[in-house]
Amino acid sequence: MITVRLVQSARRNQTAGWALLGAGALLALMLPWLVYPPIAVDILAWALFAMSIDILFGYAGMLSFGHAAFWGVSAYATGLAAIELGVPFPLAILVGAVSAALVAVPIGLVAVRTHGIYFTMVTLAFAQLIYYIANRWSSLTGGENGLQGIPRDFVGLEWSDPFVYYHAALLIVAIGFWVAWRSVNSPTGQVLVALRANPARVRALGFSVERYRVFAFVLSAFLAGIAGGVYAIGHRMVTLQDLYWTTSGEGIAMAVLGGTATLFGSIVGAALLVLLEDFLATSGIEATGSVTGAVFVLILLFFRGGIWGAVSAALARLRGTSQDDVLERPPPTGPAVPPSNAAEEATTQGSDVK
């Protein structure tokens, strides 16, 4: 009886999933008719960026406040590749994303040694360092003026139309979404989620905790890099703003608003905040900070699962079933106090830990 219901609900969930995906794809294709195309491009880029943060925070439990570094490094690398080497933009974006991943390796190696709020601040510190370097190295980065007029060439087509570019960006970002979704729902993803709950246990099972953490970090940086590259080509410019910590904050806000550990919530969060920012720019409302801040506070206090979490919980309640699709995910609230073995982890983490 119970099994039957589970199977049915799984099947129903699967159909629902496909339906949702189809609707999402349709919406994505129609987006540039609904909003101004450059804004649509922004939504794509920010969505992937927020998702890259969510992979780390929502699944592996590592909140990075330094993702601006990867977004920005990739944006600059993308821009330079396009300007200086004249490579077509998809390739330039790849160059950017790879650069971001490369930068993430040493940062990751240091950062994964720390946990919780320490990790958050270490990533922030490195990002600030990169910001200073970019500012100083103005011969390369254009300093405060930034890189301007990044070309958008590819197989001789007319890409300068943001409407056309949107579709190219959609393809690239969709690949990024797919990689994110796939890796979260992969064996490795399972290890990451388990690791967040109880690292000592996972280590004793035979997984190298640090290696998984670094991997997640670099993968996330790569995705953030794709996002930064798409954004740079979209705006045809890169500025120091892209490396500043507020950029990380914005990405986190989107991930949290959409719902952490939901992946696709990031898209919702990004869309809402980009549209909100766009609206505020011409609305005459000057209280931009208050609005963003209030969004943060309300979400954290009342819908810790974010919009996606709240909606899917409501749907689940309507359908009256299925804990199975929630099961393998970490709870959106994250573990309160690290569970039972934390004490053991702490002692085994002593000064003489390898």
């Binding site: 004490a343 702490a346 002692t347 002593g350």
Partner: protein, 246 residues
């Protein structure tokens, strides 16, 4: 569970210090304690016996005020404490040893010991504690989280002794202790009782239970199903094991 013996009024041994009337409690929708009533007299050493998940710890937490009860009332020293905050109950003379030891890992051993409020005249002085548990004395400046499992258990007990509570609620104080220490703990509990304090003990180790306590409540699935004295327990040991899985 075959028989459920409903007990409406429990016998007392001496002046009643703690009295529970029809206490029910649960987690979310699930009720874990069903109308539990019991009385404990001054100087008694009483155990609560029941298998894992029977609700023993929940009962102790409810008495301490750390778990909300959905109905019923609790009286302590003749006063209704049902609505009292935990720290007020503690100051009236209730002490509690948590089942998972409840060690403050961010405090040293010494700080762990100094934290509780000294309440009664029977409070143990620090020297006496270190005399009884010399290993804690040796480790007084160590962070308590890095103590061995058994050392943590000793610390948990030592902390409550420092309070000098009139009634000590003790949740599995012998878990993970070496046999020689278990004997020592039995000794200590007897000593505490002889100084006039009352002990309500949760214990799975029947042998230990019978060496320290005179009376035993059997609890199963949240019901108090029986109350026995030592001779009953020893006589019915096999029966108890079979039925209750203790």
């Amino acid at each position: 569970m075959s028989v459920v013996i409903r007990v409406s009024s429990m016998p007392t041994w001496g002046r009643t210090v703690l009295e529970l009337r029809h206490v029910s409690a649960g987690y979310g929708e699930a009720t874990v304690l069903h109308e539990v009533s019991l009385q404990v007299g001054q100087g008694d050493v009483v155990t609560l016996i029941g298998r894992n998940g029977a609700g023993k710890s929940t009962l102790l937490r409810s008495i301490m005020g750390l778990h909300p009860i959905s109905s019923g009332s609790i009286k302590f020293l003749g006063r209704d404490i049902t609505r009292l905050r935990p720290h007020r109950r503690a100051r009236m003379g209730l002490g509690w040893v948590q089942d998972d030891r409840g060690i403050y890992s961010s405090l040293t051993v010494e700080e762990n010991l100094r934290l509780p409020r000294v309440i009664g005249a029977n409070a143990w002085a620090e020297e006496r504690l270190f005399g009884t548990f010399p290993v804690l004395g040796q480790r007084r400046r160590q962070m308590a989280g890095s103590l061995s499992g058994g050392e943590q258990q000793m610390l948990a007990l030592a902390r409550v002794l420092r309070m000098g509570a009139d009634v000590v609620l003790c949740d599995e104080p012998t878990e993970g202790l070496a046999p020689v220490i278990v004997d020592q703990i039995a000794e200590i509990l007897r000593e505490v009782a002889s100084s006039g304090a009352t002990i309500l003990l949760v214990e799975q180790n029947l042998r230990f239970a019978t060496t320290v306590a005179h009376k035993h409540f059997l609890i199963a699935e949240g019901h108090i199903v029986d109350h026995l004295d030592n001779s009953d327990v020893i006589a019915r040991e096999n029966d108890l094991l079979a039925h209750l899985g203790i």
